[in-house]
């Protein structure tokens, strides 16, 4: 007898209601405000948590089913990639350095996001957001794990992948993404949702995963592409959660508007500063380029973010002020960041290089207003000097921004030849920031940012050397000792790509793969 396909007993909306609202209750042994002590202190007023609805109406049973399917597909690709020596199919070994930056700078954030959403899920009294945060927390740990698995294939063959977990707590440029998440996690659950759920996920992750991963595809790295897109399929849900959260806050009480606006302004700016690293990856670290950072910015931030802010205008939300500066910065920051990593290439766990003439022509075509005028002469000079054996390594530590922790490399919005200096004073001490955006954030909560763990200052305080090292000993070499503390092997993990072990190995192995030796 033929089995009839059983029709669903309850529809999606009904099932979602049962599997979320039906599972919540009012506590009686303890008052609700003691069970959920973090729900009110930020000043956000919520009157009816049941008004929150996940538009995907995803329930845990369906979540497990679809996530399992995603994992099966992903690991089949990763296995095939490893079995097929996929790493030798990438365009050029320079590309692999973008993956190092990804593993050290982004994967640890996925793990923090996992913890942060677990905390948010615990701290919200409403059942709808709690379920959504639980799923996002699981997604985030999945992203951290899958990225580590995918990149472990590269760790078998290339330098610099060996100790991301150690490095995130120490290496100078990694304090930028780390401090971003620390800032969000040390806020309350509602600010966390705006910081990560809304600004990072909704406004910014498209820029990270979509064009960059498409770029990985252009460069022959199907393993990473699949990890990226598999993660991004979860991001679609996260973005929806971030957007729902913001609408929910704004609809619940008019008093929430100024608080939400302040957080949007803050986190839109914090996010764009962190994305400087991604801009550099797209414009300089992909040997075959998919689109420029500026183009990606225009599609995913200006157009898509613009549509979003138009939509939120009905709640009284205004476009963050910083957007006028980002419209200027999009033509500069990738070049400024690459110049920074190039000169501090002695202190990082990946290799840097100067673009070829052909690549400079591409940059000049993509950045007609800025590349030739402000950057080409600098890069050409460095390349010529390197050819003469005088590769530039900057040996003096840079001044950092107190808020974003990026070296003070950004220029005045009105003058791309002038470094932007901003200064504040708090309790008799000076604090320096890189921009009006970061200064504004500092001035709003100075008690928070005076605690910043700024790598340069920490080195000068003597906190970045291995135990037993004596900084007063004769012949003490601070940079060498800091690298040891970072677990960066000098001459192997750092310095220029030209002449690196990665470069030699890739060339030799690819030769073996394509010739009969």
């Amino acid at each position: 007898m033929d089995m009839q396909a059983t029709k669903k007993k309850v529809g999606l909306k009904e099932k979602y209601a049962h599997m979320t609202r039906g599972l919540g209750w009012e506590t009686t042994y303890q008052p609700m405000n003691k069970v959920f002590p973090y729900a009110e202190f930020e000043g956000i007023k919520i009157h009816d948590w049941d008004k929150w609805e996940d538009p995907f109406r995803l329930t845990m049973d369906a979540y497990w089913k679809y996530q399992a399917e995603k994992e099966r597909k992903l690991y089949a690709v990763l296995d095939a990639f490893a079995q097929n020596n996929g790493h030798l199919g990438v365009t050029d070994a320079r590309y692999i350095n973008a993956l190092k930056l990804f593993l050290t700078g982004i994967s640890p954030l996925e793990y923090v996001a996992h913890r942060g959403f677990a905390a948010a899920g615990r701290n919200f009294p409403g059942v709808g957001p709690r379920v959504a945060c639980l799923m996002q927390s699981l997604d985030e740990v999945r992203h951290a794990q899958t990225q580590i698995h995918a990149l472990s294939n590269y760790n078998k063959h290339y330098n610099g992948f060996h100790d991301f977990k150690h490095m995130i707590e120490r290496v100078w440029y990694l304090s930028v993404p780390k401090s971003f998440f620390d800032d969000a996690f040390s806020a309350g659950p509602f600010e966390w949702m705006i910081a990560i759920g809304f600004s990072f996920e909704y406004v910014l992750t498209n820029l990270l995963f979509v064009p960059f991963m498409s770029g990985a595809a252009y460069n022959g790295d199907m393993g990473t592409v699949t990890v990226g897109f598999s993660a991004q399929s979860d991001e679609a849900r996260h973005m929806t959660l971030g957007l729902e959260c913001i609408k929910f806050m704004l609809e619940q009480d008019p008093d929430n508007l100024p608080i939400v606006q302040k957080w949007i302004d803050k986190w839109a700016w914090r996010g764009t500063r962190v994305l400087t690293l991604v801009g550099m990856m797209m414009d300089y670290m992909l040997p075959k380029r998919v689109m420029s950072w500026k183009e990606a910015w225009e599609i995913y931030f200006e157009q898509n973010g613009g549509a979003l802010f138009n939509d939120l205008a009905r709640y009284g939300i205004k476009v963050p002020e910083c957007l006028s500066q980002t419209a200027i910065d999009k033509e500069h920051i990738s070049h400024q960041a690459w110049a920074t990593f190039y000169q501090y290439g002695g202190a990082s766990d990946f290799h840097t290089w100067m673009p070829t003439d052909e690549e400079m022509d591409w940059l000049s075509a993509k950045y007609p207003n800025t590349f030739d005028k402000y950057y080409r002469a600098r890069f050409t000079h460095w390349r010529d000097e390197a050819e003469k054996g005088k590769r530039f390594y900057n040996g003096t530590l840079p001044m950092l921004c107190q808020v974003c922790q990026i070296p003070m490399l950004f220029t005045e919005p009105s003058d791309p030849t002038q470094i932007c200096y901003r200064e504040s004073e708090y309790q008799g001490e000076k604090y320096h920031t890189c921009s009006d955006g970061c200064k504004h954030i500092f001035d709003d909560e100075p008690e928070k940012y005076i605690q910043a763990w700024l790598p340069v200052h920490q080195i000068y305080q003597g906190n970045c050397f291995n135990e037993g090292v004596d900084p007063t000993a004769p012949g003490f070499d601070p940079l060498a000792e800091v690298l040891k503390w970072y677990h960066v092997e000098h001459g192997r993990d750092n310095l220029d790509f030209e002449g690196s072990e990665d470069q030699k190995n890739f060339a030799a192995w690819r030769g073996l793969a394509t010739k009969n030796v």
Partner: protein, 89 residues
Amino acid sequence: MSTVFIAFQANEESRPIVEAVLADNPHAVLHESPAMVKIDAEGKLVIKRESIEERLGRDFDLQELQINLITISGHLDEDDDEFTLAWKN
């Protein structure tokens, strides 16, 4: 009017879905990138379960879209029959 979009991994499972979306939304525009297909549409985009089922020749649960989805933009509303993205302005 603002643009909504949805992107899928470019693979055999996505192909009938993309065909269905383009057939049901004549104003939608397809962009093919490496490993990714992105569909832009002014204002609103509706994905219909029945249209996908016709092309697949089997029952389809709209939540299966999750598997090959890369990203979306716009407010979402999903029920058993339709997955809708729209800007309300």
